[in-house]
């Protein structure tokens, strides 16, 4: 996928940046004292980075600051950004095909809790892949939520993808299986499989999802990506989501949606830093083109209110 323009990425975080900058402005030209540390702590906590990750991050920063004798707030901010950047080092390549599974039809599976924007994300990914000339098949694997298929149909029509669906309440595995078979028969380039939103503490629903993944990974299909969709407004429950979905479906990456609001999406920093799940895509708006690749530098700068220019 092509790289997004940094301006687009940053503009999505403009509103969050202002608050953080205001808070940090009072630190300038002063030695980092307890007030400074408290401000930093509140800034990270306020961005949903979470208690554990915030404490660990600031603990490292204290060491760095002492070692390097940092007395300037700007230098401190720089050191913090670098420290955080070092935590975001996972491989975020999007796999067009499943590694070591030549001749199979690649499947991108989208998973997550209710209401995070899975269906919309599939629509946007479909639009991008179609624009790149790929033949896209969508699988309406959300057979639970009323009218989810209609919603996906709208997106499929917009980007010229073919939608394979089952009846309401049908077994999602069979819908995905049908879509993979259809895609293979027609020589399509990729299957984008939607799944019903589910809370990660519902064991039977998570088992169902694991089955969907197994079926999608069976010849002629092969799962190239399992993308966990996380809403930028999500709090610390995001970690629990990431753990549970990773265990059930071997998640290969995270899609951060709704970053165009006032939420900062700090939970995905915790998810990548603590669990090693790379953030791959970011949803910045409601248009079909508002999906961009994740950029750690812009993300951290925006999170901390450091001016990227």
């Amino acid at each position: 996928m092509q790289a997004p323009t940094p301006a687009t990425f940053s503009s999505g975080l403009a509103s969050s940046r202002r608050t953080l900058r205001d808070r940090l402005a009072s630190m300038n030209r002063r030695r980092p004292d307890e007030t400074t540390w408290e401000s930093l702590e509140e800034a990270l906590l306020g961005a949903d980075v979470g208690v554990t990750t915030t404490m660990a991050t600031l603990e490292r920063l204290r060491t760095t600051a002492a070692d390097q004798g940092i007395v300037d707030a700007d230098e401190l901010m720089h050191a913090l950004a670098e420290g955080m950047r070092a935590s975001l080092d996972a491989d975020r390549t999007l796999h067009a095909t499943a590694p070591e599974r030549e001749g199979t039809t690649p499947v991108w599976l989208f998973v997550g809790v209710n209401g995070v924007g899975k269906t919309t994300t599939i629509g946007k990914v479909g639009a991008r892949l179609s624009a790149q000339g790929q033949a896209v098949v969508m699988a309406a694997g959300d057979t639970f939520r009323a009218a989810a298929t209609d919603q996906l149909q709208t997106w499929a029509d917009r980007c010229g993808a073919e939608l394979i669906s089952g009846s309401s309440g049908a077994d999602p595995s069979s819908v995905v299986h049908d879509a993979v078979s259809a895609a293979a028969a027609r020589g399509a380039d990729v299957v984008l499989a939607d799944t019903a939103g589910r809370l990660q503490n519902r064991k039977n629903l998570m088992d169902e999802l694991a089955k969907v993944r197994r079926v999608a990974d069976r010849e002629p299909g092969a799962v190239a990506e399992t993308l966990l969709v996380i809403d930028a407004t999500t709090g610390q429950n995001g970690l629990s989501q990431a753990r549970a979905f990773a265990e059930a479906t071997d998640v290969t990456g995270v899609v951060l949606t709704k970053l165009d609001g006032s939420a900062k999406g700090g939970i995905v920093f915790a998810i990548e830093a603590e669990l090693g799940l790379p953030v791959k895509l970011v949803g910045l708006g409601e248009g079909p083109d508002d999906l961009v690749d994740f950029e750690p530098d812009s993300y951290i700068d925006a999170l901390l209110g450091v001016d990227a220019d």
Partner: protein, 493 residues
């Protein structure tokens, strides 16, 4: 939900309880823990700061009473403050004297407005009302279709028209007036709080229908941004209450505290499962109790009572005592269980339930299977299952689409249940059933159950319970059997 907050607070305060006197250092130590617990529960940092400050002032500043230990005192202060924020009492929904009562739902995308709208309509029906749903979310593809599908399942009419959502809402209001609908529930498009254009639109919808209640729909999993969202919506719409969704997840739900603090209005309803019935009035005092580690038994009991048909269950209880409990009764019990909604949400409300039980597989499909098996039996077989031999078993399996092994398994469970429950009834005065036991536990831990009597907890929870508390100890009542059925039948498999 709230599990970890509960654990942390109870851990900290238990530490305090163990000491005779409390020094300021003790207070600060406890408050530091409380702060972390609240932050981990996603309560907004600013809200946490204010909360901790208030508790500190009240803890150190005085209010010393002779009757409480210092630990009890901090517990009480934290509890009081939580209740203060969440709302001191449940929102008393007043239906307008001149119908329809207009309810507007607003919130972020994906917070669960459409589902909440349908659930609220169902709740209104359960209150004897005749609601009309308005699908004014003309933004999200198929949102109106989603509302229609949900509404069909509860037999409620949906009004919607393409074009301008303001006209659509206004049209819905006139239609409700003409059609004699006494509640109008308007579902609006999800929007980002920062989107001025859409905020203006929802304000115009509000002006057009002049809602009696404007509810902000908030996802229990939301983090720090809950405050910004609530502030913006409240400034635009004057929110009257909050509907908290996805409470059946394992999110700690601190957003409820954040939003209630910012808006200054109570959480009115909570959505606790995927079924339409999984929706209830929110009880702030109970939530505070839950946060403090006392479980939410009151909601649990009420939920059970709402669904259970008293006479049926009492009759079943009688037959059970007499040993004539049949497979028909068994299936009735299972159906009742299913009607109560998401079984996991019920189990998670019980205090002192281990994670193992909490996460146990309680699958509605199993109820369906059990039902199919019993329905494939002849009346004679249902009354006297012992006549079922191999050939009958094969016929029942074929009829219900199951295997002979499944049929045998069900019969075994039924026999066990009948035996165990018979045994339990025999113990009578010695052993209390689970439902009451749970209530008593809460009564004990709060020290607030009236008179300290065993049935006091239940009596306090339910006005109807008054007659029940008058029953002689040991006599089986509705709750007895059903809770035992839940215990024995489902998680135990």
């Amino acid at each position: 939900m709230f599990d970890t907050l509960t654990d942390r607070l109870s851990g900290t305060l238990r530490g305090l309880r163990g000491r005779g006197r409390m020094r300021p250092a003790d207070v600060d130590e406890a408050l530091a823990e409380i702060r972390l617990a609240l932050l981990e529960a996603d309560v907004n940092v600013a809200v946490v700061r204010r909360f901790v400050e208030r508790v500190r002032e009240r803890s150190i500043g005085g209010e010393v009473t002779a009757s409480l230990t210092p630990g009890q005192q901090v517990t009480k202060i934290v509890n009081d403050e939580l209740i203060d924020i969440l709302g001191t009492s449940p929102l008393d929904v007043q239906f307008a004297s001149k119908p329809p009562t207009v309810v507007l739902l607003a919130g972020l995308q994906g917070s669960g407005k459409t589902t909440a709208a349908a659930k609220l309509a169902q709740w209104c029906k359960s209150q004897g009302r005749n609601p009309l749903l308005v699908g004014a979310d003309l933004q999200r593809p198929a949102a109106v279709e989603q509302l229609r599908t949900l509404a069909r399942s509860i037999d409620v009419e949906v009004w919607s028209e393409a074009g301008d959502p303001v006209d659509c809402a206004a049209g819905g209001l006139s239609h409700a007036q003409q059609a004699g609908r006494d509640v109008l529930i308007v579902d609006t498009a999800g929007r980002l709080a920062v989107d001025a254009e859409l905020m203006t639109e929802v304000a115009r919808i509000s002006d057009a229908v002049e809602p009696h209640y404007t509810f902000l729909v908030v996802d229990a999993m939301v983090g720090q941004d809950a405050v910004a969202t609530a502030e913006t919506f409240h400034a635009t719409l004057e929110v009257d209450g909050i509907i908290l969704t996805k409470l059946d997840g394992d999110a700690r739900g601190g957003a409820a505290l954040s939003v209630a603090e910012v808006v200054g209005r109570p959480v009115a309803f909570a959505s606790v499962g995927e079924k339409i019935d999984d929706f209830e009035q929110f009880h702030p005092d109970r939530m505070a109790s839950r946060i403090l580690g006392m479980g939410d038994v009151m909601t649990l009991i009420e939920k059970a009572e709402r669904v259970y048909e008293q006479e049926e269950a009492e009759a079943a209880a009688q037959r059970l005592v007499e040993g004539t409990f049949t497979l028909d009764d068994f299936v009735d019990q299972l159906r009742q269980l299913r009607k109560m909604g998401n079984l996991q949400s019920i189990v998670s409300m019980m205090p002192g339930v281990s994670d193992q039980v909490r996460n146990a597989e309680i699958d509605d499909d199993r109820i369906t299977t059990a039902e199919a098996i019993v329905l494939s039996m002849t009346p004679a077989e249902r009354v006297s299952p012992e006549i079922i031999d191999a050939s009958r078993r094969a016929r029942i399996a074929a009829g219900s689409g199951t295997s002979s092994a499944q049929v045998s398994n069900l019969l075994k469970q039924f026999t066990q249940m009948r035996k165990m429950m018979g045994g339990m009834m025999g113990l009578g005065s010695k052993r209390r059933p689970a439902g009451r036991k749970a209530a008593r536990k809460r009564g004990k831990s709060t020290g607030r159950a009236g008179g300290g009597s065993r049935t006091g907890g239940g009596g306090r929870a339910t006005p109807k319970g008054a007659s029940r508390t008058g029953k002689p100890a040991g006599k089986p009542s509705v709750a007895d059997i059903d809770w035992d059925a839940l215990d024995l039948k489902l998680p135990g498999r």
